[in-house]
Symmetry: C2
Subunit: 329 residues, 2 copies
């Protein structure tokens, strides 16, 4: 957590987009006839599962790490992550000529651990239920002189994540579409902070919604109460990628003023959205990356008759979980 | 089969691309770090599974049906198909304001049958092992005055399918890449005929390979012998989308002069490619659509050190078959 808070602005997102050009994938914005008929809306899906390393996290990580100086690159980076940020950091570190050490929960999907190792990242495990990853990460970073790359409490990270929505905004314009509603998965709130900044800059009348798992709906409750609420648990959802204790202090300083509200979807609804994306969109989305799509499919965010942008934030999912999702068909 | 043969040229593909603008999806050309490391090549994957109706077939069907006159549209279209062409025809018919009646094999994946029905197409079943779909289709078309939309023996169909490779060629140019090798699934040969015409126009030095299932490698054997060879069987492959008795007469008149050769992959290799695409590319590819990717992953086409374009032609696959593919991981 940075203090004093130093939130990024729209121009930081535009700057990040320039930095990411040629490194990040300009992911496609998908539409689908069945999806539109099912929802009665005009729905566009930003397929960040097709991003390098399988999620939007590469964007923020690359934006942050590419700004390290030569001395910092010699010492390397440190990150803590449920998996997607880990892969993004490992890849961005390798591409920028530095090393990464990553704290990952012991129950992280195998595919995410292997993704980190593919990029040469060193994995250190922690227990998601009993250990504080922020404290552990900070301690290792200090001991080894590594630059800590936090998952969301950093203006460069937020600005990098916002480039996905900046692209989506441009892609919707190419399709002659103006979003009435934008729905984005929310964990710590970095992606949705950048998403809101980018989307509301271009479309000030759009309403931006957070999508979360039931029981881990800290954003929904925080937006209702006006203060950062804390989840009772940190385990027990299929949406491992977006389970965090509470909205970040920095991300909340942005999101509290820009979000229309939050929608909570059940595990079954998230899995049904994964299956829908498999069957109709032909993309692989992980449960945590599918909560915004689930919010549209279930009607938890009212979208009938509207033009909608949904962020499908990642696709790193183990085989067993994916098979479970397909069983819901 | 048309006689005399009237093969399309490159300009017919460019014309089809104009006609498809705003109707077909400009599907993304994907690359992947793991794929490049695994193969030692620079591989680009044209993700036609993300096309409208889940496969490239929409392109040819739309190009053909959009040219029907008002009288023809009153009577409707007729098609025979293992599934993907069926969905493409049903969608193109609906969008062009006409009706479609479709002959589908009784063992076609349920998802493909439902795809046809979503678009208002009327399904008539036939037995893939004992009935001749060409004869049945022609009889119904004549009785009802419907325009027969064949799956590949038609210059508008071939030109429409070629627009995928035309896009891929443009997308590779945007990425600063020139294909040394192009690999494309081959059933009747319409997609690969259009693919070769488009690719070799822009890249005359490229070598274009057909990918097929073992035991249904009529293209590979025909290219070796110089005449249209016939498969012994018409059932028994997981690659249902690309099982045809022999190269089409019209498609062969194009392909015989432009292809470098054929590569046959086993069922297990096709399923492993489906699983690879799920895990790393985050796209849903059906076994028949994954044979070109399988040809690269297995090394059946030599690509080490080369720049490669692979066509992933479709993603319409039933849950059970997909689960079987994931078990290969």
């Amino acid at each position: 957590m940075s203090s004093p808070l130093n939130p990024p602005s729209y121009s930081d997102i535009a700057d990040a987009a320039e930095r990411l050009a040629g490194h990040a994938v300009r992911t496609p914005l998908l539409r689908n006839d069945v999806l539109d008929e099912r929802t009665g809306a005009r729905v566009f899906v930003k397929a960040e599962c097709l991003q390098r390393t399988g999620s939007f996290k590469f964007r923020g990580a690359f934006n942050r790490i590419s700004r390290m100086n030569a001395d910092e690159k010699t010492r390397g980076v440190m990150a803590y992550s449920s998996g997607n940020h880990a892969q993004g950091v490992a890849a961005a570190a390798r591409i920028n000529g530095t090393t990464a050490k990553i704290l990952m929960p012991a129950d992280a999907p195998r595919s995410k651990v292997e993704g980190v190792k593919f990029w040469g990242g060193e994995v250190v495990e922690y227990d998601r239920g009993t250990q504080n990853r922020e404290e552990m990460g900070r301690a290792i970073a200090e001991a080894e002189g590594r630059v800590l790359v936090p998952p969301y409490e950093d203006p460069f990270i937020i600005a990098g994540q916002g480039t996905a929505a900046l692209e989506a905004s441009e892609q919707m314009a190419e399709a002659g579409a103006v979003p009435d509603v934008v729905i984005c998965p929310a964990g710590g709130g970095g992606l949705i902070a950048g998403t809101g900044l980018a989307m509301l800059h271009h479309h000030p009348a759009a309403r931006v919604w957070a999508a979360e798992p039931v029981g881990f709906d800290d954003f929904r409750r925080s937006l209702a109460s006006g203060r950062r609420e804390i989840n009772e648990r940190l385990t027990g959802s299929v949406c491992d990628a977006i389970i965090t204790p509470t909205p970040g202090e920095l991300t909340w300083s942005i999101n509290s003023g820009q979000l229309a509200g939050g929608a909570a979807v059940s595990d079954d609804e998230a899995l049904a959205a994964v299956a829908f994306a498999w069957r109709h969109l032909k993309i692989v989305v992980e449960p945590g990356g599918a909560v915004a799509l689930a919010a549209v499919l279930t009607g938890r965010v009212e979208t009938r008759g509207k033009t909608v942008c949904v962020i499908a934030s990642g696709g790193n999912v183990d085989r067993a979980m994916f098979a479970r999702a397909l069983e819901s068909l």
